[in-house]
Amino acid sequence: MNWWAIFGAGLLAGATTCAVAQGGLLVGLINRQKKAAAEVQGAQVLVTAGATGAAKGGTKTGARKPAPKAAPATGSSTATDDLVPVAGFLLGKLVILTLAGLVLGAFGSFIALDARIGGLAQLVAAAIMIVFGLGAAGVPGFDEIQFTPPASWTRVVRRSTRSQSAFAPFLLGVAVILIPCGVTISMMLLAATAGSAAAGGSVMAVFVLGTAPMFTAYGFLTQRYVNPDSRRMSILLGIVVVLMGLFTLNASLTALASPITAQSIAAKLRGTPAVTAPVAAAPAPVGGVQVLKIDATSGGYSPSSIAAKAGVETKVVFHTDNTRSCIVYTTFPTIGKQVVLPDSGDTEIDLGTLAAGEIPISCSMGMYTGTIVVS
């Protein structure tokens, strides 16, 4: 998982797409609360002066209220006054989207228990990510494809922006999960294909943390969230999301044992075999059985390719030691075998007698690969 790419997507999204509009909702909420507080203060002063009933004087028909988004910070407000609601909003968003990532990651890893279904689900996720990425980049035709939430969901968000509660910014941050933009949905799909609940939660957490700097800067420094000159940033964001979609697409093709993957295309272009010479020699058979030992770490298979003798009964032993990634769902896509490895321990798989050729090994998400070269 390329965490920097996810953080970068968040960074760009913080100044473009829905984050900008959500910032506008937050600033509106803050200014409404400030105005209400000022009105209460004013009414109290009038009551003290004996001007009873003055609080009713606020209904000036036809008069335009102070524009909430353009209102500068009031003279009495401090930097902390403005930063606290922004932090509350981001915290709410971080909590809810991380939880969503955990659930999606767990669901995705459950789906991936069947490598074929997992691969197909990844394929669909990749296609949606690419479409939303092209939309974010403003490619004609794709930029009109949007998720339209039910009216009841948008009503919840609208109510949140009118709340006078001290927790309103936090609750607004939680509520915006109901109105995700295409980029946020793409990150959710990436979380679902991350391979585990923890990885899914981390994807969403890193994304939200990535949105924080630009989001805070715009809201805090300018006190308004009008669309900045964000065309270039939108294009860049779209490219990042498309690349993530292509990465997911390649992972799904790998998991489905497709002959066409980025690796095979690159090898063809280089004019070299798709798989390099095995880095580990074939072990000597003991009692007519050759045992291939492979470490399955959180970062991949070691050795990544191992030789084996054809015509000899073969067993593979995967060694795990505190391994916590989708590699625990290991599959041999071309021979239809798969296994769930424990966090730590040795797991033996009987492959029978092998014929010459290459046997790919992959995690169920297609992110980590290895090969047994039989000759």
Binding site: L25, G28, R64, A67, P68, C181, N227
Partner: protein, 77 residues
């Protein structure tokens, strides 16, 4: 009190948040009774009192960070 229904074409919206933001800004204007924005159609339908002009409606749309064009104004009771 008589009302008017103003339909505005809003440009630049790309997600549900944008639609809510437009409604939010419009409903902060005194005399705006309600506002319903559809991101899909790119249109906002605002019900306003006599005191609110088309320019007020467009100013609120600009306030939200978008550009608008009044498509129709219909008087309602």
């Amino acid at each position: 009190m008589s009302h008017r229904t103003v339909t505005v074409e809003v440009a630049g919206m790309h997600c549900a948040s944008c639609g809510i933001l437009v409604d939010d800004c419009l409903e902060d204007v005194d005399g705006v009774v309600s506002s319903q924005t559809s991101v899909k159609s790119g249109q906002c339908v605002a019900v306003v009192t006599e005191s609110v002009t088309d320019a007020d409606v467009l100013a609120a749309v600009v306030e939200a960070g978008y550009t608008g064009t009044v498509l129709a104004t219909v008087a309602t009771s």
